[in-house]
């Protein structure tokens, strides 16, 4: 049962209007090449789910793909704001469904655990409670009020991994971020992988394989798929390429997408 697909075919699984969780964190191991292909194929009305995003989210905002973004942080850290995400939100094309990263996690947990909501500690006092769809719930044991986060179930989780086999088993080295949780919360899972390995490699160290194949719908072999972000320890972020992206005029996007594969 090989689940290997071309990048185009895998992106084709995603329908306009879908909710898509992207793995990785800021410029680390995010599915950047997958996001570019989504931009090329002009996906529309996508709702993204991410704890902390940068290039992937900004590029999809620039390409007009995004109706909303559920995230705790969208920015380029020490390099500054996310210019195109900013513009898309300020212009009203994209809704910023701001979270604390932990409430993204809580919403994903509710989806993964098959429950309608998750109670979450903290958060009281934040105006996010008033402007976003968080609610309070009474602990039935003590009467204490606690914040409730509604189930956040993506249609797809898209995760860039170091190694996958054709059945969809996936192995991430180093920082795991919230990727395993996303694969449990989503209805479907797409992996892009630096390399395809034989299943027997995983059978030697099953405890290091965070994503079991039976949860995965499609695997794309995509070396360099996190660039210009990093895929530690294989490659560092290409800062020059990120800065040049940040300096790019919006009109240059089509050329950029043709050039950067």
């Amino acid at each position: 049962m090989s689940k290997l697909l071309s990048l185009a075919a895998a992106v084709g699984l995603i329908k306009d209007g879908d909710t898509v969780a992207l793995g990785g964190n800021t410029i680390q191991r995010s599915p950047a090449a997958f996001a570019r292909e989504m931009a090329r194929r002009k996906k529309r009305n996508i709702e993204l789910v991410k704890t902390a995003g940068a290039y992937d989210v900004d590029l999809l905002a620039l390409a007009g793909c995004l109706s909303a973004v559920h995230a705790g942080y969208i920015g380029f850290e020490n390099m500054g704001l996310a210019p195109n995400y900013r513009k898309a939100v300020e212009g009203g094309q994209t809704q910023a469904k701001e979270h604390a990263c932990y409430t993204v996690i809580a919403g994903l947990r509710a989806a993964a655990y098959g429950i309608p909501f998750m109670p979450v500690a903290g958060f009281l006092g934040s105006e996010l409670l008033e402007v976003r769809d968080f609610k309070l719930v009474k602990d039935p044991f003590t009467g204490q009020e606690v914040v409730a986060v509604q189930k956040l179930q993506p249609d797809w989780a898209v995760i860039h991994v170091h190694e996958a086999d054709v059945e969809g088993n996936g192995r991430i080295l180093g920082s795991q971020f919230e990727d395993a949780l996303m694969t449990r919360a989503a209805k479907g899972v797409i992996l892009t992988a630096e390399r395809i390995v034989d299943k027997s490699q995983f059978q030697k160290h099953p405890e290091s394989v965070a994503i079991p194949g039976f949860l995965v719908n499609a695997v794309v072999e995509l070396p360099g798929g996190a660039a210009p972000g990093s895929c530690y320890p294989l490659y560092d972020a290409n800062i020059e390429a990120i800065r040049s992206y940040l300096a790019m005029a919006p009109e240059a996007l089509d050329d950029y997408l043709k050039e950067v594969r």
């Binding site: 410029i27 920015g75 390099m79 903290g122």
Partner: protein, 244 residues
């Protein structure tokens, strides 16, 4: 500022006082975009806090980077030396159950109660400026035992009378600026330290809310030669200054 030019930068000063606030054995977390905390933690570990438990988004526990990444603080380089992984999710859980000692958090705007705004300038739904978002702060600030805030600009647009939006509220203990340190006492930020090259007057004129001195107010001790030497050794590329 004093005309006598000191042998250290504002970035050095902020890093050094931040490091001094840390205690041995405590559990400390920083998130995205946190170069000064990233360096300050290593400085503290080299001095008074060798057994401080250092947690970051990378999942590293006590990561000891050979070199600090310049553009990001979520980089795999922070994983070096770690003997186990403890993910961001786990760090939030740790804080939620009351076991995180110190979280470093930033604020684009900070008010006199130590509340912060990282969300928007203007209306939340139709913002004039969409900011990056509060990241972990709305969850961490109320649950960490203490938060240390920092901001590398000290002006009335940062330290405001009224926030455009209240992203997070909670257990702020100290707020470090390039000019001094506020301490939250009796529910308000009081001026606790002024840096040697600044003054109460300068801080007052650059702060959007009224300045009241803490009973423990003092002039901060300048970075010592030992502190500066360690800084030079662990951060020769001056990553601590990247936010200036």
């Amino acid at each position: 500022m004093s005309e006598h030019k000191p042998n250290y930068t504002q970035a050095d000063m902020m890093t050094v006082v931040m490091a001094r606030l840390l205690r041995d054995r405590e559990r400390v977390f920083h998130g995205v975009a946190s170069p000064i905390p990233m360096v300050a933690v290593q400085l503290a570990k080299r001095r008074q806090a060798p057994n401080l438990v250092y947690l970051s988004i990378t999942g590293a526990v006590d990561g000891l980077p050979e070199a600090f990444p310049r553009e990001t603080t979520t980089d795999g380089r922070l994983l070096r030396n770690t003997a186990s992984l403890f993910s961001l999710t786990e760090i939030f859980d740790l804080s939620a159950r009351g076991q995180l000692d110190t979280a470093f958090l930033g604020g684009v705007q900070i008010d006199q109660y130590g509340n912060l705004n990282l969300s928007v300038i203007g209306d939340f739904h139709k913002p004039k400026v969409r900011l990056p978002g509060g990241a972990g702060s709305a969850a961490l600030l109320p649950t960490t035992k203490r938060a240390i805030l920092w901001r590398t600009k000290h002006d009335p647009k940062v330290f405001v009378e009224k926030l455009s939006f209240r992203t997070a509220v909670g257990n702020v203990d100290k707020v470090i600026t390039p000019l001094g340190i506020f301490s939250k006492e009796d529910g308000r930020l009081k001026l606790w330290r002024v840096f040697p090259y600044s003054s109460v007057e300068e801080i007052t004129s650059l702060t959007g809310f009224p300045i009241e001195k803490s009973p423990d107010f003092a002039v901060a001790k300048a970075p010592t030669p030992e502190e500066l030497a360690i800084l030079q050794e662990i951060d020769p590329n001056n990553v601590r200054a990247v936010e200036f």
